[in-house]
Amino acid sequence: MSTMQKEAERAGIPAALITAIPSVAKSVGVSRIITGGGIPYPAGDPNLPADREFEFRKRLVEKALEAITAQVQEPTVFHVTLA
């Protein structure tokens, strides 16, 4: 998906990638990277109770939107905190 995110950016569509392995995305050159929950649940975390997990997901997509509206020069990793 890293390569695909780059194609979107190449076409002028800012895109953020939510992934559990930001290092891979960074080395492939994805510009807007959001550190996700885990490989089997990039936009979630089943270890959390349902309502807290939803809050986590909401923050992930909010951070994605923030990344999309941010000026970035090179691969940038954005993190989300729950507290």
Binding site: M1, S2, T3, M4, Q5, K6, E7, A8, E9, R10, A11, G12, I13, P14, A15, A16, L17, I18, T19, A20, A25, S27, V28, G29, S31, R32, G36, G37, I39, P40, Y41, P42, A43, G44, P46, F54, R57, K58, L60, V61, E62, A64, L65, I68, T69, A70, Q71, V72, Q73, E74
Partner: protein, 351 residues
């Protein structure tokens, strides 16, 4: 009785033909029978196993600026003498000369089926452009290294002329073309790894069997100016598809993507959707598909007016094992779709 010598046509530029330097870059395509310039050195090294029957030369600027015309004539001149092989250069690190060598050799291969060989400094930009089309012998950076370059070029020219092709790049020492094939080698991988490690531990620098290939740098897109007016789309590599996988998407090595409606949905309901990605345990996303296609969270933000609209469908494939070429193809197709649907930004998820 000795085998007939390999017949070679040699291509060089105006400088090595003795015409002049940069200022003579527009000198015309000319030729002579037999060797000239570095070809004389090569002839000595061939030891009778090969002979240069004709030498061609052209000004570097002329051939680069009039490729079609010049190459047409080059091909005619080469065809006339029916050589077994075309040799070009060595061009060391000269950019335009390197490109000239590459296009000459490539044209002869494509139009006449004659194999080609040239000598270039590994960082010459012509290497990346032509390495798939022809054999390139790595040589030094400038003509100062001619003495070292010619023997390598001569040896491979003889071999290539006789056999029509060369052995693998590690054996014959030419710059790797990028082509790689599975073959049986004498020792198993474990043994070769131990040998490679021991070489390193003794201070040596063994040649890697798998060169690292870098990734293309794509400059980031301009940030979204007005989020409140934007349409956002979801693209997932997590292989979340409607139950039953209606488009028969592959669990790995994707060659297509699916487009699935989320119209009227405030979340992706469990049970109606299924993760089919072959590389991770889909149990958790099957229980809650929003964990990989975050419809629920985005609907809430849409309702709050954070952005104008969530696109009424999402794009899905299984992002595992997809090689770069296919990823680029699918990625650009999705990007085109997004543009067609007036989507201003996208959120990708990957597993």
């Amino acid at each position: 009785m000795m085998a007939k010598p390999v017949r070679i046509v040699h291509y060089i530029n105006q400088f090595f033909a003795g015409i002049g330097g940069e200022e003579k870059g527009s000198s015309p395509l000319e030729y002579c029978e037999g060797p000239k310039g570095p070809g004389l050195g090569l002839t000595g090294l061939f030891k009778g196993e090969a002979e240069i029957v004709r030498t061609l030369w052209c000004g570097d600027n002329l051939i680069n600026q009039n490729q079609e015309e010049v190459l047409k004539r080059v091909v005619e001149l080469v065809a006339e003498v029916k050589p077994d092989l075309v040799v070009a250069g060595p061009a060391f690190n000269a950019g335009r000369y390197g490109l000239a060598c590459g296009m000459v050799v490539k044209a002869c291969k494509e139009k006449l089926g004659i194999p080609g060989l040239m000598g270039l400094f590994p960082e010459n930009p012509a290497v990346d452009i032509y390495k798939k089309d022809t054999y390139i012998v790595p040589v030094g950076e400038s003509a100062v290294k001619m003495k070292d370059a010619l023997p390598k070029l001569a040896a491979l020219a003889v071999k290539l002329g006789k056999n029509g092709k060369l052995d693998n790049a590690l054996v014959d020492g030419y710059i790797q073309t990028g082509y790689r094939y599975n073959e049986y080698v004498p020792e198993n991988a474990a043994h070769r790894a131990i040998s490679m490690l021991m070489k390193r531990l003794k201070g040596g620098e063994p040649i890697t069997e798998v060169p690292l290939r870098g990734f293309e740098k794509v400059p980031p897109a301009e940030p979204l100016a007005d989020l409140k007016k934007a349409t956002i789309a979801i693209v997932t590599g997590g292989g979340m598809v409607p139950k039953g996988n209606p488009d028969n998407l592959k669990q790995a090595f994707a060659d297509a993507f699916g487009t699935y409606s989320i119209e009227g949905l405030t979340e992706l309901p469990a049970g109606d959707y299924k993760g089919i990605h072959g590389g991770f345990d889909s149990t958790w996303v099957d229980l809650d598909p929003d964990r990989v296609v975050p419809v629920d969270a985005l609907r809430v933000l849409e309702k709050e007016g954070k952005f104008a609209k969530l696109l009424d469908h999402y794009y899905s494939l299984c992002g595992i094992g997809t090689n770069v070429a296919m990823s680029k193809k699918l990625g650009s197709e999705i990007a085109e779709e997004l543009k067609r649907k007036n989507v201003q930004a996208a959120i990708f998820t990957s597993t």
